[in-house]
């Protein structure tokens, strides 16, 4: 693998030579900017419109949650940021700028210098993402040596340091274990160690906890937040679990049928959702405090086919509110991503007039009757998804990791 760097340096962006020499802050632009990204896969059956006109950005040190069900384009768009789509089999357009550098259409060779160094990714299933024939430590040091011209011994020491950092007990001996000797949670920790070994400025976590148990999920989410504080990286967390987003993300983007349908500050989206699909997501998840006698309110129907997406708004065949929109707009016209009723940073893709009123009067009483009053008066505490456990004072009474 090509070495782009001189002596090892642990500093993030800005220390690379070509092609990513420009500091993220030079232009005042966020670290990652995705503009009008479109990803299509030609297949024997036709063109799969996996992602259409997607735009978002993320600043250093903040977290973006991307929520959606399978086939909503959330993983495909992130793989595009990593440059992991085969250019021969994918039609991509738009722009993806990482630290000011356009990465869409970048040659494999140059992409390799960014991948792992500037942008790293952790995957859903750590067992398949780790190579079963190589020792965990060897896989981490390889990732390090790909971007740093150091000896094997130094890289190994770095691997031990990282394993220790992510909370693997006895890292010095476990570094020589094979992935199958690790438990699921430890494998995911090792994946995180591998992703962070080059101190990337952006970490993409694709369903990082879906394959894990709840107690281990809590450990991994805590770890990600801790590491984010230490490394000041930006994190994109891709998930179908709004609970994870609520705890982790500063911003959230809800995707449906390859498009962003709602995008804004996490608190805004959770307290004042304005798009019926988001309402559906909120309503269909029971929580451990809800009334067990109440029926769950599912979203009827099935996710759309990306081969033949519905006309107009992709959600209209499943949307119970199309009748409230004058004319046949939902079926005929794709709604633009427009400003919501609560703040400039809240964007939604929906024709529905006065969505807040519908949410407060029809949806909220069904799913959280106890919150109606608070929502109408907007009496919520300003902070949401506080992040680390240490943030809440009452946690002092609880056991810390020993």
């Amino acid at each position: 693998m090509t070495q782009t760097n001189g002596p090892a340096s642990d500093q993030g962006a800005g220390h690379l030579t070509e092609p990513t020499s420009r500091q993220a802050g030079d232009s005042g632009e966020p670290f990652l900017v995705v503009e009008d990204l479109t990803v299509r896969f030609p297949t024997a059956d036709g063109l799969v419109q996996a992602v259409s006109g997607l735009s978002y950005s993320i600043e250093q040190g903040s977290t973006l949650g991307i929520v959606g069900e399978s086939g909503s384009g959330k993983s495909v768009s992130s793989l595009a940021v990593m440059g992991l789509h085969d250019a021969k089999r994918t039609q991509m357009s738009g722009s993806i700028r990482v630290g000011g550098t356009e990465v869409l259409g970048l040659s494999n060779d140059r992409m390799r210098r960014i991948r792992g160094r500037e942008v790293a990714m952790i995957f859903q299933d750590p067992l398949t993402a780790l190579h079963p024939f190589y020792k965990v430590g060897a896989q981490i040091s390889e990732a390090y040596r790909a971007h740093h011209d150091v000896s094997k011994a130094k890289a190994r020491a770095k691997a031990i340091e990282m394993l220790d950092r992510v909370g693997i007990p006895q890292a010095r001996t476990r570094v020589d274990d094979y992935p199958h000797q690790f438990s699921g949670g430890m494998r995911q920790r090792a994946m995180i160690a591998m992703a962070l070994v080059n101190d990337p400025s952006l970490l993409i976590a694709d369903e990082p906890t879906t394959a894990l148990d709840v107690t281990v999920q809590a450990q991994i989410l805590d770890l990600l937040q801790e590491l984010q504080k230490d490394f000041n990286s930006a994190i994109i967390i891709i998930t179908h679990d709004l609970g994870v987003v609520a705890e982790m993300a500063d911003d959230v983007m809800v995707m449906y049928g390859g498009r962003a349908v709602e995008y804004g500050r996490t608190r805004e989206i959770l307290v004042h959702p304005e798009m019926p699909y988001t309402w559906g997501l909120l309503a269909s998840v029971p929580d451990v405090t809800a009334d067990p006698d109440a029926r769950l309110i599912p979203i009827q129907g099935n996710p759309p086919s990306l081969l033949r997406p519905p006309s107009g708004c992709a959600f209209h065949p499943r949307c119970p509110h199309t009748g409230k929109v004058p004319g046949d707009l939902c079926r005929t016209t794709l709604p633009e991503l427009t400003r919501g009723e609560h703040g400039d940073e809240h964007l939604k893709r929906c024709h529905l007039p006065d969505p807040s009123a519908i949410y407060e009067q029809e949806i909220l009483p069904e799913i959280a009757p106890d919150l109606v009053e608070m929502t109408v008066k907007d009496e919520f505490p300003a902070e949401v998804g506080t992040g680390l456990v240490e943030d809440s004072p009452s946690d002092d009474a609880l056991p810390k990791e020993r």
Partner: protein, 414 residues
């Protein structure tokens, strides 16, 4: 089951062509927990040990994975028992033992007066009609080369429930019940989405009108928006056909929603069991408390609050060589000497609430001394106390009318 028994139910399903749709708007109350209700399944001290073989030519047994190690519980008629726990805790193995996909190592499973654990395979066949299973993965649990009609119709043919000519009609009724288009009986599974496939699996399980359905993670492989559809469907069929459920899942919120009674498993043992309110609102086992605190909560986070989260360190230990005493002690923040020496009994501490912990208490109210010493005849460190004799504890898989009150440290009657 005779044909005469089948007929009324099938006509009931036939009468309501929109049965699924109409059920969607029903607001019949879900089953309440009644500890005196008749148990349809009574499991006592069920064990399953899988042998671990050495490598090499002579594959000697060098140990056992104690997947399920002495669990006792009851499933009540038309009710639902939720079995929760992390992967490897033995919850799926328990489900597979009850359906006799595995043969138990020890223990009994009384179902309609017969012990499912000791029945021969031949004697088990008619019982399979009564106990059916829904699997987690709707992709691998349907044969891709069979049409939906074949998949749903096979149980009917195998058990000769209806004459061959009527199988198709019955299949169409079943598809209708689970909310699929009955005309799709000649399609293949790959033509359906994940949620629809799970409906096919449910139709197959319902075909024989079982009394007990073992649902092993029935919604965890589905998209969020589809999960609610399937949970509602399961609740509808439960009420319509009065089926008892053993509902195995790791998602505490879904289990709480579906099951009036919940058992929490850890490393092959039940650590806490009780009705919904006892387990969720008054959890007495530290593991249950940790599980509850770890599950993310959207609505709490939306209003800016969050529950205190207990961080458990490490992973579940190996079931080949489980910790001595209490199996949770290696990850428990309350653990003391007694926890390593004495295994805590599953002690009934309320009307319908049992817990296995030496320091059973609600969160942050840990008693200074172990609560079980008097019962086990040991001192606070878990050593045998010559002065006291152990009490013989009830082994009833259900709930007794007399239980150990933690406050007064004595047995009280209802």
């Amino acid at each position: 089951m005779t044909e005469s028994e089948v007929a009324p139910a099938s006509s009931a399903a036939g009468q309501a062509p929109e049965s699924y749709e109409s059920a969607e708007h029903q607001s019949a109350a879900p089953p309440r927990f009644d500890r005196h209700a008749e148990a349809i399944l009574s499991v006592t001290d069920l064990k399953k040990y899988f042998p671990v073989k050495s490598s090499g030519l002579v594959r000697r047994t060098i140990g056992h994975v104690q997947a399920v190690d002495g669990v006792s519980f009851e499933v009540r008629k038309g009710s639902a028992l939720g079995l929760v726990g992390e992967s490897g805790c033995g919850k799926s193995t328990t489900g597979r033992l009850i359906t006799r996909l595995y043969d138990p190592t020890a223990g009994s499973m009384m179902f309609q007066g017969k012990d499912l654990a000791t029945l021969s395979h031949k004697a088990m066949t008619p019982m399979r009609k009564e106990v059916q299973m829904i699997f987690q993965d709707p992709y691998s649990s349907l044969n891709p080369r069979h049409t939906v009609g074949t998949i749903v119709g096979t149980p009917l043919r195998v058990h000769n429930v209806v004459p061959d000519k009527q199988v198709l009609g019955r299949v169409r009724e079943l598809l209708e019940v689970v909310g699929l288009n009955p005309e799709h009986y000649n399609r293949y599974p790959n033509e359906f989405s994940g949620g629809q496939r799970q409906r096919i699996g449910i139709a197959r399980a319902l075909a024989l009108q079982p009394k007990l359905l073992v649902a092993d993670e029935p919604v965890s492989a589905l998209d969020v928006s589809i999960q609610a559809q399937v949970v509602n469907l399961l609740r509808d069929v439960q009420q319509e056909f009065n089926i008892a459920f053993l509902f195995i899942a790791h998602d505490l919120a879904v289990v709480r929603h579906f099951c009036p009674e919940i058992a929490v498993m850890y490393l092959g043992k039940i650590v806490e069991i009780g009705d919904r309110e006892s387990v969720y609102d008054h959890a007495h086992h530290p593991y249950t408390q940790a599980l509850l605190s770890a599950s993310p909560d959207v609505k709490q986070a939306a209003i800016g609050g969050r529950r205190e989260r207990i961080r458990l360190e490490g992973d579940v230990p190996s079931p080949i060589n489980p910790p001595s005493g209490c199996r949770f002690r290696t990850r428990c923040w309350l653990a003391q000497d007694i926890c390593a020496k004495q295994e805590p009994p599953l002690l009934q501490i309320g009307k319908s609430h049992k817990v296995a912990c030496h320091f059973a208490s609600e969160l942050n109210q840990t008693p200074p001394r172990p609560v079980t010493t008097g019962l086990l005849g040991v001192d606070d460190q878990g050593n045998h106390d010559a002065g006291s004799t152990p009490t013989t504890l009830s082994t009833n898989p259900g709930y007794d009318d007399e239980w150990y009150d933690l406050k007064s440290k004595s047995f009280v009657k209802a």
